[in-house]
Symmetry: C2
Subunit: 356 residues, 2 copies
DNA sequence: TGACATAATTGGAACGTTCCAAATATTTAT
DNA sequence: ATAAATATTTGGAACGTTCCAATTATGTCA
C-alpha cells in the first residue's frame, strides 16, 4: 500500500522546521516554542506519523527499549496467567510492552526465547524459571546490564532479584488452623522433595506442627508428584499408615484435589471425614465441591510487584539484587471442615505479614 | 558493566574479514566459504555477540520484524490463555516473538497497546477485539501493510481476516444430542441478544430443534448476561414456564454452571433431573460435579490456526482477507444425563466438519 | 598461458532516529 | 542602540545492520 513510511523528515518539511526540532517535540522537550510544537503535532497527526522506536533505540545505545520480557513455564495454568496479567498492568501503564513467552518447562525453549528477547533488545526480564534452570543461565544478561527478576521459584546461586511467596508462613498457618480445629495427626502430602519450594513448605509445616505442641513424625510427610494424580497416590499411602492422620496440608491445590478424589474413592468425604488444605488458591479452588481451603498467594500481586521491581531497576540503571517474600493468606472454605463461608473469594482470611 | 556492545564490526576485525562477510554469515548466505563461516561463528561465540534486530530491521525497511502482536481481552480467562499459548507455539517455532497484551475489554487500552505495538514495528497482529471495537479501528494497520487476524469475535465491516469457531454447528449438535436422549422441550439459556455470537448460536439452536422434528418456541429462549449469575437467572425464568423444559443448551459454560446452581437451589440435580449442556469447554468443565457436557472449541487450536494464517500473510507480503470457521465438537460428560464417561477430556465426541 | 567464468569478499551508502555543538532569534539590561 | 543573556532552532555525525555494485581470488577450458 503506502510505499514509504512517514518519517521525521517528512514531518519537518511539511511543518517547515528541521528534523531536530521534530525530534525535540517527540521527546517533549521544553526547549521548543509552544507554537511550533503545536504545528508539528498537527502535521504529525495529519500525515499519520508513527514513531519508529527501533531507530530511536539504535541511537540511544540500548538504554531504553520500552520492552520487558516475561517468560513463564505454563500460561495455561491460571496461576501464571494471572501473574502475567499483573505484570502487564504495571508495565503497560509505564509505557512498556511485554514480550510474553511460554516454555512448557523446557529449558531449551527457555534459552531460545530468552536469546530471542535479547536480540530484540528487552530492557529487563521477568522469569519464572523452568525446572532445571541453571543459576548461571542469566549471567550474560546481568553482565550486559539487563536486570532480571526471578519470580515464583527462586534460583539459589544467581545474583538476580527474586520474589517468591512466603511458603513457610503459609504452610505454618495452614497447620495451625487445622490444629486449632482439634486435629492431632496432620499429614504433609505431595511435592518433589528436591525442590526449594518443597523445602520451604515442609519447613513451614514442621514449625506449624511444633508451634501447635504436636510431635513431628516423619512418616506423616509423603511426597509425590505435585499433580492431581500425585495427590491420589499420596493420600493412599497416608491412609495406610498405622495411626492414620485426620487432616492434611497439601503441597499445592492440584495435589489437594487429588487427595479429595482419593478420599472419595475410599468413601470418605473431604471436609466432613478428613480435612484437607491446599496451597495456591487457583481459581478452581472456590468453585470445587467442597470448596477448597487453601493458602492464597495472589499471583497477580506477585506479577505487579515483580514488574515494579524490574522497572525500578531499569530506571535506576543499576540492578541491586534484591529479594522479597510476599505475604500470603489462608482462605478458609469448606474442605477443612470449618464450615461453609458465604462470600466467594473471601471468608475468614488470615493475613500473614512478611519481613523485608 | 560491559561498556560497549559487541558489534558486527568487532566480529569482522577479530575474524579478519569484512563486516559484509559477517553479515552474510548472519543471514546464512550460501555465498560464504565454509571455512570463513566457521571462523566467524567461532568468533561470535567467543565474543558473546548478540544480534541487534532493531538495527537490522531499520535497514530492511519494515519488511520483517519477527514480532507479532497479540491482544486479548481477558488473559485471566483460561480460554484466552490457551489461545495465547497456541499462538505462541507456532509463532515461536517460526522464529518470531509475541507481544502479548491484555485489554480487559477496554477499548482505550486496546488502542493504546495497538499503537504501542505499531511503534515497535510488529509485522502482524492477532486480536480478539474488545467489546465496542469499531471495524475502522484497524484500518490504519492494514493500510500500512500490516496483516491483522481477528479471532473469536468477528468484526463485521472490517476488511481483515478472521477466525471464529463454528457456533452454529456446535449448538446444533448439542440440541440434536439432547433430542436423541429423548428430550422434547429444550431451552436456550443465556447470552446477550445483540451480539453476533449470540445470533449464530441461536441460529444453530433453531436448526437443531427443527432438524430433530421439534417445534421452535420463542419462550424457550431466555437471554441473560453470559455469566454464572446470568445462568441462575435464566434457569429461574425457564422453570417458571408453563410447560417447563427438561433440558437446556447454554450460551457458554459460565451460564451452564449458573444453571446448575439454580437447579440445585430448587432441589433438582443437574444431569439426573434436568439436562444441561454448555459451550466452550473451559478447563473447569471436566472437573466440575457433575462434569459438564459442552461444546469444545479448542482455543489453542484457534490460536495456532490464527497464527499460521497471520504468518502466511506476513510472508506473502500481501494480505488477502480470509475467513475461517473452525470445527467444534460436542464433548459428552455427565451434565446431560447421558451417563459417566471414563477418560477425562475425551468421552464420546462428535467432530463437526467445517466448510471453508 | 590467456581468457573467461565462477566463487568469495568487500567498501560505502542507506535505514530513521537522537545527540551534540553551533547558529540564529529574541529579550533584557544598560 | 548595543552588549549580554536567554530562548529557540539547526545541520551533521553517530547507532548497527543490510544492500548494492564492485572487486579480488579461484577454477576451467582451450
Amino acid at each position: 500500500m503506502t510505499k514509504t513510511r512517514v518519517t521525521v523528515i517528512d514531518i519537518a518539511n511539511a511543518a517547515g522546521v528541521s528534523k531536530s526540532t521534530v525530534s525535540l517535540v517527540l521527546q517533549g522537550s521544553s526547549l521548543v516554542n509552544e507554537g511550533t510544537r503545536a504545528k508539528v503535532n498537527a502535521v504529525m497527526r495529519e500525515l499519520g506519523y508513527v514513531y519508529n522506536r527501533g531507530a530511536a533505540n539504535l541511537r540511544q545505545a540500548g538504554a531504553k527499549s520500552k520492552i520487558v520480557g516475561v517468560v513463564v513455564n505454563d500460561l495455561t495454568n491460571s496461576f501464571f496467567a494471572e501473574l502475567a496479567v499483573g505484570v502487564d498492568m504495571v508495565v503497560q501503564s509505564a509505557g512498556f510492552v511485554q514480550f510474553l513467552s511460554n516454555t512448557s518447562e523446557s529449558i531449551d525453549r527457555q534459552r531460545e526465547v530468552v536469546a530471542s528477547m535479547r536480540e530484540h533488545g528487552i530492557s529487563g526480564l521477568i522469569v519464572s524459571p523452568a525446572r532445571a534452570t541453571d543459576a548461571a543461565d542469566f549471567k550474560p544478561l546481568v553482565a550486559a546490564g539487563i536486570p532480571v527478576v526471578v519470580v515464583v521459584r527462586n534460583l539459589p546461586g544467581a545474583k538476580v532479584s527474586s520474589i517468591v511467596s512466603d511458603n513457610q508462613a503459609g504452610m505454618m498457618s495452614a497447620v495451625k488452623h487445622l490444629a486449632g480445629l482439634g486435629h492431632k495427626r496432620i499429614a504433609f502430602l505431595g511435592g518433589f522433595p528436591d525442590t526449594a519450594v518443597f523445602d520451604d513448605r515442609l519447613a513451614g509445616y514442621r514449625s506449624g506442627v511444633e508451634a501447635a505442641g504436636l510431635d513431628y513424625h516423619e512418616d506423616l510427610v509423603v511426597s509425590s508428584p505435585p499433580s492431581r494424580a500425585g495427590g491420589v497416590e499420596a493420600i493412599g499411602k497416608a491412609i495406610a499408615l498405622g495411626r492414620r492422620p485426620t487432616a492434611a496440608v497439601c503441597f499445592n491445590d492440584a495435589v489437594a484435589f487429588g487427595v479429595c478424589d482419593g478420599l472419595r474413592a475410599r468413601r470418605l468425604e473431604p471436609g466432613a471425614d478428613f480435612a484437607v488444605v491446599g496451597f495456591d488458591d487457583v481459581i478452581e479452588a472456590q468453585a470445587a465441591v467442597p470448596a477448597l481451603t487453601t493458602v492464597s498467594v495472589d499471583p497477580q500481586g506477585i506479577g505487579r510487584r515483580g514488574a515494579q521491581m524490574l522497572l525500578k531497576q531499569i530506571n535506576a540503571g543499576k540492578a541491586e539484587a534484591e529479594t522479597v517474600v510476599t505475604a500470603v493468606r489462608l482462605v478458609v472454605r469448606e474442605s477443612c471442615g470449618a464450615g461453609k463461608t458465604a462470600p466467594a473469594r473471601t471468608g475468614k482470611s488470615v493475613k500473614i505479614e512478611t519481613g523485608r
